[in-house]
Subunit: 478 residues, 4 copies
């Protein structure tokens, strides 16, 4: 039976091996390795050639049986990627030797069928369309990982909706927040990243069939019909016109994946900072050997977060290529195509892997709520200074409240551990201030000063619910 | 009357001077200079402070008259940007001194009003929200320029729908195309860039009001209501939660502008290549002194395209910052905010300017259709080799057609000017081929081999019509 | 007297104003603003034109008196940068209108002199050579700032040679180090950055005079002599051949400045981390208002470090342009020149400013040695686990030492504050281990385990001494 | 016998396979694939471990025979890179499992030897030092390719010292130059790139041995001695102090390779432009199948240049990582190490490959001197306008010469093919101008107007001679 590209589930370019090599496994999850492997790429190219023959047949350009014969040859295992890659050096392009071999195979399968291989296409048509199939597969995996990451963040947001901890700005303790709100912040960023990637994948993946210079001339009048048939068979949109040298959609795809990676990087950085020895508020899930050091037995390194950060930074560096590649010459430029697809493949590997790593982290994150409380308490109430000023301003003349609190803050800092903001403020209040010590003690209680944190957590969780509902019923009105 | 931010038309942060300085005018159009100037930024910050006071009043947090008093002080001309900038060094942030001065002014305007300045906000709230207003203004200008650029491309596409010229891939003549299709390619890219920018501006510009660490604590229970009121007054969306350290939307904005710039850069490169002395198929519109050289009187340099390319490359380099800045610490990171807004301001200047420059170019492009025909003819029919193979394949055994044409191509190349592909093919045909010389001459006529070029031009023009209609009736079903 | 470019001290393109505007002062020190201002650029261009006339005179191409007349006109204050900038739009280049105005001025000064303005030069010759003069000025300032930064680091390294603190890897406490070694690490990086910048400035700044397309044809046979004379008058090296489209040296200059910026960024990040509320081991020097928050009176933000980090990141983003601009067309490319010099000017501003900011920070850094000791002690000796394993390995069978210590580490972590590694180890030692409790207590004393830290501090300080000596006697053998 | 790292020639980390895979061979030459393969990396790590044991032995820390036993185990073929890579996920680092396996192997080889594996080192020490060995190997290959590229450029420069062609600026014909000077420009850029890479490799490759946090504490007092011994055995410099989080040298290495890549990219772009159908002045060497199209038999694509450009752009994008990675936390940052070495490996592959590709191109470049002459002649002398103005200025009043020539240029452009500048000028000269038609014809002869082109070619060739001499006698005075 002919391998019908339509029958292949979108995320299953999975003929290749899992991640291998000395460094790659650290930066490539098995899921991403599978769907972006050389074998997957090769199968994607062959799926395009098979679908193209069928599209030609749909339009009456290919005789009965030939498309099926070609399709029977379009199995990745019949070709050797490295052989194609090495032959591809001659034309800076592995499609040329692939087409030659496929033509021979089809001819052997059914005499005359070889002439109908690669109908009306140029190499870049095959590469670009196959690339879109690989992007779709990698997106599906990455969106699933983003879903897992969102679930992890949401679970933490819900569980720690009211767990008071210190908010930190410019790496300084600022005012209290809740760990739930922090996790809700991660969640919203992940939902955004999902929607951005989903939008690009839904709207911007398109078939490429434009022929030698964009006119589809070798298909005579049938060009547009073949393009539509090809798109339909591969479930890819038909673009207004070919995009050989309009690389906008690649820049969008690259940016969407890089945003997913950077979102994971943000979470990874936060987890690393929470794991700091002096902070110790949350930890990557423990596993035998994970995060250990070759020299220091006490160490518990943020190993998954480190890998995720590395992925995010590599993805960001790669993304820079695609704005450059938008500026290329005439109907097809020189030397961009050869850079684009390898770079995008790597970028997608890094992005999906970063997301997956942080999904692992959040789903098992160990939270130390006692440490959160202790760190907040350790400052002697300094983190509540904003509130004390606000409360005091109701009792004292304008300006005076702030001045008193500032002086008290300096005193607490100078005195160090054990000193408290409320006592120092009390000691500085003018006569007849009418503020009870108990009142002051309440004003420096962080639990009273988390503002709308819980309300915001709920909003973020509602948005997850909404996104999930929409994902289940994509046809519904929005 | 209080300056109501709502009353300010979106693209009119235009109090500043036109582009000045030694290099800036080359890289900044006056339109972009106006809406992104220091004066515009300052007014945007003041509009946020004014709207915040009104929002506080809406929610019952600000006494009667105070918001109006604050609003009366929120006029850029009352403040000195350089003074604020220099004072801003202390806190790495010009908002701190601005708030102090505004507080004093409001207090002078109405005693007690100073206490209601900057209600519940942190400096970054003002900077981020003001930034969104500046982005909106710069987007409006840039979208208008994109509209002008689309119009220029569309005019060329329609006028030259059937003007035959050489398609060029890897800088080689490939097969014929029409200049209309080339211009339609530009048009589609510009429409895409418009839609991308419009999507980001419509969907992702949001108010920022989150307070010291994201909880809105200093507003008590009123936080969410004030956020909504502020967003409503400034016509900015209310985000799920604050985005102090979730910089996704900045990365999206930066990428959308950089895509607009790169799209202009693509067109600029094509125009530069068409203007090549040896090609000479199209020229930037002439103007006294434009494109002249300080040394060579015969030169007609692609001066506007050069400036547009410079802008596009600068924009691309800047865009790299924003994926990095997504990875920042906790509730607000260290040293990203200070980089983001200046970088984005420059990026928007470059992008809008690049688009405007190329709109000027396309609207007056001088097209030399005779040169197009001559360049295509000069190759002696080589550009028609694909077609000759296709036609001949119907008459000769498989493989033989391609071999004959390849040999003929080599012969034409070797013989040089005056030699023709049809004659060389004819000389190589096997006995009894049954191909008439007239047939062959027709096969090498480029006008017969533009495939679906005209059909594709029409599709592109229809899309422009659609986009314009949608812009006029944004509320209509899509 | 004619303004002799040679007489101008290298770092004194200082006619311009100090940093102004709303955001610029935060990212541009006054020193850098002065030497890279529009006025400085303009004067540099005029210095090149003046020196070119003199060089022409040296070679007998310019009649007596004409070079002097031209020189008298070469004063920046006689020209309006914004007027030139706006006129420069026509040719994407402000030199064309400058030359026209200068020619008129020279002609008015001495009839006939106008013909000898811009002798044999093309606009890019003036721009590139002037750029090199501006680079030299900015380098001199930046090298001085690097010297100041090195001095600050050295002072800390010497003072805290033996101040024990926790070394931190992957943000975890690792093993002890000394603050002196940390500062010595900064010092070595700064010395490297200095040497890299000094190397580029010494070896790679070169005059540009190549004429319309690199042949110097309009100077007849005198071309090379004029180039040499011009280089000599401006104290710039004579390149092997012109570098209109060989932009290697710009990439080197950009990278050298970006490295200086990143080095400052590294120190800024470390200072920010040391200032963390939970760490509190070192602080930016206090100044009224510095690092304060608009909302939180207790805050002491790393404001200078934040600005330095912003500068470093902006510099890194800009640096990306210059590898791209190396790949340009033929004798001069399209649209790179217009991007290069503005981008490099900004990059140099950011780099020099970042260095200067961190020099300010280190020269007044407040170090809390008690906090360093306390943070190290707080882990109950965990940071000494490596040492305990090493010591114990001498007494126990291989493998057993590590296992015992690992279990003890887990116990300390589990028990939390108050628990100590030595007790936990002792409790787990096998019978007859022969380890005295006092021995164990000594093994967990961080002061005994700083290895070669002090020796390494001395090496770093020696290198500073050596670099300073070399700077004083640059002619000496190395 | 123990594998002595010193005995391994610097460029021979060549145990791995040649380039394989679908895309890699296009972007990776076999030479670069060999010296940067996983097998090479693994052997480099093992060489470091072997040398470390010997260095420990040199310093009396390792008992007799143990270092040799360890060394016998340090053969890449005894380990499985993918197994290490997958185990390395736990610690974000393949060195941890490698050390564990090596320890077991050494213990099996000689009981007790296992304890002396990885003496005083942390994983990053091994990775960084091994990385330096791989850099050295890749540099040696790349420098050899640069030598080959220089030789190709030099041959062209010498052969075409006086071959007149059009100089082109902003893609316009400017004034004449010689192809020799163009090639000399390539040569000088290649010599610069060589010197930059050679400088970095000679001066900045350094051993890394700093221990857990930079103090070498686990080596007691012997730390510095072991570092020196290790450096000596591996022929790597001893750094002032460790560089775990001072990544300046990586940024320098990355930039040096990226500059080599960009230099190749510049040449590749020029070759692509010279190969343009309408220009046709030079061509990549022909080879069966090279540069052919899958659709168009007449095509001769710049396939090698396209691959080189792709490599150069990928290298430039990667280089951006390294300025970011300089800004990392404390004694070792989070998630940079994991990105750096994979990125640098790819960058080196791309750079060396780009250089090698262009060496292939230049060594066989087909030059069409007739086309060069014809293209220059085709403009009817416009390219000589600068000269005509200069000559005429000696006869006419100032200003008039330029005006006459400008009008004549416009007339030539308007009239098109066949029209000539000299006739048009003659027709416009005022009465009694005294200019003979023959004089004018001479003024528009490009061969008379190549200025110092040949002299500059000689200078460039002399520099190559000098560089080669220096390479042969590196110890000589310079």
């Amino acid at each position: 039976l002919c391998p019908d590209a339509q029958a292949r589930p979108p995320a299953q370019y999975a003929a290749g091996p899992a991640a291998g090599g000395l460094f790659d496994p650290m930066l490539t999850s098995d899921a991403l390795a599978l769907c972006t492997s050389d074998a997957s790429w090769l199968q994607a190219m062959l799926d395009v050639e098979a679908a193209l023959a069928l599209a030609g047949s749909d339009c009456g350009l290919v005789p009965d049986g030939a498309a099926e014969a070609i399709g029977r040859c379009c199995a990745a295992e019949r070709f050797d990627p490295s052989d194609l890659g090495r032959q591809g050096r001659l034309g800076a392009n592995p499609v040329i030797p692939l087409v030659a071999q496929l033509r021979n195979a089809a001819e052997a399968e059914m005499p005359g069928a070889g002439d109908f291989v690669h109908l009306g296409a140029t190499s870049q048509d095959i590469l670009d369309t196959a690339g879109m199939l690989v992007v779709r597969a990698a997106s599906a995996v990455t969106l699933a990982e983003l879903g897992r990451l969102a679930a992890g963040a949401a679970k933490l947001a819900a569980a720690h909706r009211a767990t008071v901890m210190s908010g930190r700005t410019l790496l300084q303790q600022a005012v209290p927040t809740t760990f739930g709100l922090k996790a809700a912040g991660w969640l919203v960023a992940v939902l955004d990243a999902s929607e951005i990637l989903d939008h690009v994948v839904s709207e911007r993946l398109a078939v490429q069939l434009a022929g030698a210079a964009g006119t589809l001339a070798s298909l005579g009048d049938a060009g547009p019909a073949v393009v539509t048939a090809l798109g339909s068979r591969l479930r890819l949109a038909t673009p207004t016109i070919g995009w050989h040298s309009d690389r906008t959609r690649l820049a969008e795809v690259a940016n969407a994946f890089a945003i997913a990676a950077a979102t994971s990087g943000k979470i990874a950085l936060d987890v690393s900072l929470l794991m700091q020895t002096e902070v110790g508020e949350a930890f990557e899930p423990a596993a035998p050997g994970r995060g250990s050091s070759s020299a220091m037995p006490q160490k518990r390194n943020p190993a998954l977060s480190a890998a995720a950060l590395a992925c995010a930074r590599l993805a960001a560096a790669s993304a820079g290529l695609f704005l450059g590649s938008m500026i290329q010459e005439h109907e097809r430029g020189v030397g961009w195509l050869q850079a684009e697809w390898p770079a995008l493949t790597d970028l997608m590997r890094r992005a999906g892997t970063a997301v997956g790593l942080m999904a692992d982290v959040l789903s098992g994150l160990e939270v130390d709520t006692a440490a959160m409380a202790a760190n907040l308490a350790a400052s002697g109430g300094l983190a509540m200074a904003e509130n004390v000023v606000a409360q005091l301003s109701k009792r004292l003349p304008p300006g005076q409240a702030k001045r008193v609190v500032e002086e008290a803050c300096l005193a607490v800092r100078a005195a160090g551990a054990g000193s408290r903001l409320d006592s120092e403020v009390l000691a500085r209040l003018p006569d007849g201030h009418g503020v009870a010590a108990g009142e002051l003690a309440a004003w420096v209680d962080p639990a009273t000063y988390t503002g709308s944190a819980e309300w915001l957590v709920d909003k973020a969780l509602e948005r997850l619910t909404l996104q999930r509902a929409r994902a289940r019923h994509p046809g519904g009105s929005s």
